[in-house]
């Protein structure tokens, strides 16, 4: 290529000096309700700090990491989590990616006026896999109170075993990496409840079960999960 021609081309199309340096690969999704909608069970202060501080922090760190990486930036969030999990040897971006996903899932797992018990197919499946809803609730609360690190508690639909299970993960880990389908999750990192409940995690977890958990969302997720996991024939009563 003639040097003069090359120089002309770059100066004509060189917008580098004018273009901004900001790149954003993922956006911060707000919770599907106002930040004070979960009062008095989860204060506005907590939601503002948890979403606006922690969740936003993970997202910004993720975007910063992706801006420097020539390969990772092209994945969708789900793919990114699996790729950065790197089969058990997580890459540095894993923490941020997984925490963004976990928190998105968490806000959607709650709703104002939540709590109570699920209905229809999800309730049937819970009763089938745990005996009764009361037993499931007990086991879920127990799992939340016996975690020995920061982390999450999940209700998942196990793909291979074809039943629901309660799973504890530590720090940023998510059952997505084991290819299970999450139905609800609960953040048991201390930052999720410390301002409202101090060290009384039991109160927080019980409040979550009684007033916050969104079984509506869970039922929707379960219905979608059944498109991927064959749970057998439904029990249709014969007249």
């Amino acid at each position: 290529m003639l040097p003069s021609l090359a120089k002309k081309q770059t100066s004509q199309f060189d917008t580098r000096r004018r273009a901004s340096k900001v790149v954003a690969y993922f956006g911060l999704k707000p919770p599907p309700y106002q930040l004070d909608a979960l009062e008095p069970h989860m204060s506005k202060k907590t939601v503002e700090l948890h979403w606006g501080g922690h969740h936003r922090g993970y997202l910004e760190n993720l975007n910063k990491a992706l801006a420097k990486d020539d390969v990772l930036y092209s994945y969708t969030m789900d793919e990114l989590i699996n790729v950065t999990y790197n089969r058990g040897n997580p890459l540095p971006a894993f923490n941020n990616a997984a925490q963004v996903w976990n928190h998105d899932f968490f806000w959607e797992s709650m709703q104002p006026g939540g709590g109570g018990i699920p209905e229809l197919g999800l309730l049937d499946q819970i009763e089938k896999d745990f005996g009764s809803f009361t037993n499931f609730r007990e086991k879920f609360v127990e799992a939340a109170l016996t975690s020995f690190s920061s982390g999450w508690v999940w209700l998942v639909l196990k793909r291979e075993e074809k039943h629901l299970a309660i799973v504890k993960t530590s720090n940023a880990f998510t059952p997505l990496v084991w290819d299970d389908i999450p139905i609800i999750n609960l953040d048991v990192w201390e930052h999720a409840y410390y301002l409202d409940y101090k060290n009384e995690r039991a109160k927080y977890v019980n409040t979550f079960m009684d007033h916050l958990v969104s079984w509506n969302t869970a039922m929707g997720r379960m219905a979608r999960a059944e498109a991927f996991v064959n749970l057998g024939e439904p029990n249709i009563p014969v007249a």
Binding site: L49, G53, S149, A172, N199
Partner: protein, 244 residues
């Protein structure tokens, strides 16, 4: 004795209702511990704080100190004693399955007790020397290994801020090589889990409960300020014991 240690000195106005209920729980814990002790099992007990809850202000608030000591540390002690009881029974019965199952509870709660007992001694009010830089052989060793105390502090703060989740950042001494090390441990793992010859000189709790009420999610600010109440004298004493 165990009784005295459950009623630690506090400067906060009176004993609030909350702390009164906690003393009731403490007496239950004492009952359990007493039972175990009568069988020859040496149970853990909550050590006294060598200063008032509000004495480390403004670096660490009195609220945090009270919760951290009276609730969190006490819970580790109580649950360790419970797990120890269960372990004792399972060992006597030869129930290997239960013995193995209890390991994580013992490591977590026992580790929490060990780590926090060191932590309270690592801190001191300013008027008792908190924040005063190290002198003597420890100061000299820090300059040799890290260049300066500032460099060491920067290194520990960087590692503490980068720690994902919950854990501790330590200044330790390898008693074999006599070298100073900076290391982190996850959750409540004591420093010795990172190396059998490591002795903790200073530890900083970076669990969120250690700073959240005051510093919210800005862990780096907590790490910057805690050095103002760091008890280098204690670290120096431990160091001199190992490297006379």
């Amino acid at each position: 004795m165990a009784l005295r240690s459950l009623f630690s000195r506090t400067s906060l106005a009176g004993l609030s209702a909350a702390s009164r209920t906690s003393s009731c729980l403490d007496s239950k814990a004492l009952g359990l511990a007493g039972l175990a002790q009568s069988r020859g099992l040496k149970t853990a007990s909550l050590p006294d704080l060598p200063y008032d809850y509000g004495a480390l202000e403004p670096a660490i608030s009195g609220d945090i100190m009270q919760l951290h000591h009276k609730k969190h540390h006490q819970t580790y002690v109580t649950n360790y004693n419970k797990a120890l009881e269960q372990l004792h029974e399972a060992t006597l019965k030869g129930d290997v399955g239960t013995v193995v199952k209890l390991q994580s509870a013992i490591k977590f709660n026992g580790g929490g007790h060990v780590n926090h007992s060191i932590f309270w001694k690592n801190l001191a009010p300013v008027r008792e020397g908190g924040g005063e830089p190290p002198h003597g052989s420890l100061g000299w060793a820090i300059d040799t290994h890290f260049g300066s105390v500032e460099a060491l502090i920067q290194k520990m703060n960087a590692e503490g801020a980068a720690l994902q989740g919950s854990g501790w950042v330590w200044l330790g001494l390898d008693k074999e090589t006599k070298k100073l090390v900076v290391d982190t441990t996850a959750n409540q793992d004591p420093l010795v889990t990172k190396g059998a010859t490591l002795i903790p000189l200073l530890g900083i709790d970076v669990w969120e409960h250690a700073y959240y009420l005051q510093y919210k999610n800005v862990r780096p600010d907590y790490l910057k300020n805690i050095w103002k109440v760091m008890n280098w004298k204690y670290a120096g004493e431990i160091y001199q014991q190992e490297c006379p």
